[in-house]
Symmetry: C2
Subunit: 340 residues, 2 copies
């Protein structure tokens, strides 16, 4: 766990680690020991005061700052001293450090950042939400299998339904990448390999419950995710206005409060545990910088569950069975010199 970069400071992350440790997870915490203070039981603290969470170029910062807490935490995972990475700092630094040190899984084109969006008691997993800006068809195909394996193993969805996000439900709609991915995924409609491809969904159906995994490129996914956040805030704000505009409205708001408490908890991002970095050789969880201790402990819990449920191995097996792994020769051509 990288304790640097969280809005509430490293001590809050340490409190989250303590909660996770109390629930049985062993935590190796990298951060400023002076800030963290008393070491909670079950947590090992490695003093790593250097933070690169605010650096404008995360890839450069990762390469030039080996002492950074996120780099040390990532190397601990890469070297087998830890099983999964949890970061509460910059998403960009976590992705860069993960790709550089933990490295992509065998045959994986690119990692993806996946976010579970809570919808009325269930979760929809949206990926990629920003690990990379653009995607080719073969990237989207791998994201589909990576998302399905994660939804099954960690979110507990039996045979998850998967769709591509597009500007129309028909197979021919979308960018060339979406159309190409649709063609390739159409062989997996039956779901015999644990993944049920449902075709395209439009923006209206991201949260409607028709699928459990929504696949898109990182540019579109980031915009969709943040639009969901923005609209939720706008609608809730409008209702709050209505509930404070008059005595009648205030009384109505008070009476509705207990009923809406469940809803507020449902859309509480801390409950989801963060975003998941999929496609590396180990699991990565990126907590939100705004999280408090509960959020960090959940993020650590999700990472622990992903390890226990062998998400990386299951993803690899599903991609292998589907013939969707990158062939080494296609991206790293070997030049053969003919014997003279």
């Amino acid at each position: 766990v990288d304790a640097n970069g969280a809005d509430l400071g490293a001590a809050e992350v340490a409190e989250g680690a303590a909660l996770a440790a109390a629930a049985g997870t062993r935590v190796l915490l990298f951060g400023p020991a002076a800030e963290i203070g008393a070491v909670p039981q079950g947590v090992t603290v490695v003093d790593a005061p250097t933070s690169i969470a605010k650096q404008p170029d995360p890839a450069l910062a990762v390469r030039s700052t080996p002492q950074a807490s996120i780099v040390q935490a990532t190397r601990a995972v890469a070297e087998g001293r830890a099983d999964a990475l949890v970061s509460g700092g910059s998403t960009g630094a976590a992705i860069a450090a993960g790709v550089f040190h933990v490295r992509r899984g065998r045959g994986i084109h690119r990692p993806a950042l996946a976010v579970p969006i809570p919808v009325r008691g269930r979760h929809v997993l949206l990926l990629d939400v920003g690990a990379s800006a653009e995607a080719r068809p073969e990237h989207l195909v791998q994201f589909a299998f990576m998302g399905a394996a994660f939804a099954h193993a960690v979110l507990g969805v039996d045979r998850p339904r998967v769709a591509l996000l597009s500007n129309g439900a028909e197979p021919g709609r979308g960018t060339p990448a979406v159309v190409g991915a649709h063609e390739r995924l159409s062989a997996h409609r039956a779901g015999a390999d644990g993944m049920r491809f449902e075709g395209n969904v439009e923006g209206t159906d991201v949260l409607s419950g028709v699928v459990e995994v929504v696949v898109t490129d990182g540019f579109t996914g980031n915009i969709a995710l943040k639009t969901i956040e923005g609209v939720s805030q706008t609608v809730v704000g409008a209702i709050r206005d209505a509930a404070t505009a008059s005595v009648r409205g205030r009384l109505g708001g008070l009476l509705l409060r207990s009923g809406l408490r469940g809803f507020r908890e449902e859309i509480d991002p801390e409950r989801a545990g963060g975003a998941y970095l999929l496609g590396l050789r180990r699991v990565g969880v990126v907590a939100h910088g705004r999280f408090g201790r509960t959020g960090f402990s959940r993020a650590i819990g999700v990472a622990e569950r992903a390890v226990r449920e062998r998400v990386v191995e299951r993803t690899d097996a599903a991609l292998e069975a589907a013939g969707a792994l990158r062939r080494a020769s296609s991206e790293h051509p070997i030049s053969v010199s003919a014997p003279s």
Copy 2:
């Protein structure tokens, strides 16, 4: 006005036309005379029973069906018998007929479909929401000027603030098209030419009120728009659940009802009058197929206002002043044969 393709039938569109006519707009209505029945005062009905609103390939249908109501309505606009097009049928057919018959404005690369999203008493204009799937930098630059001119002339926004939708606020974030458009638009930050470019916004800020015009490609814009619709429905549904789950909740819902009525009207799509087809030689308005008579009369009213406020001419002048018009030579190279 094309009366075919509306969910409630041509007679409902005719009632909307009657409302617009009563408010002083002369309406030329193309649709099935038998369905429309008695002709309202101020409305001229041209019997055009053929509809292509449900055809899977709108471009093909437009070319092969000259008697279709949308084609006849569009040709009336192209030939100067009407000043603006209003369609309540298929968006695809309206775009295809508009491009084919009304044609793109001089120096315009591509038309864009723009939707005004009502947010707490104001509007945010989002474009393109689906006229085309992908966009180059010069397309996005033109969309910015087209949107700003429309927001000023029709939505009444003084010196509209314009932003590109991206996966990060920093200038370098986004697809190559977004980064390229950002570079070109950065010369228009001051707003001396009536357009204030504010850089990139993320999904969270589409509705937050920091800008009045949000520019993106048709794929991303369509997904953002439909995500906004879907999330609004999900959040409102969750509140409805809370307001019916218990006696206490039901009483609270009743007391809040009058306060929320204003909010419901605000998010009522009929009030916006539809989507606007910008970048043609005449104004086009695409009403939603679900609209009732009020929605159609507003759509006709918006078209009338756009004509009166000379949106097409203003857009042309702004693009010309900004040097953002397509040069004929760049897309239609002239081969010059050297004299021998």
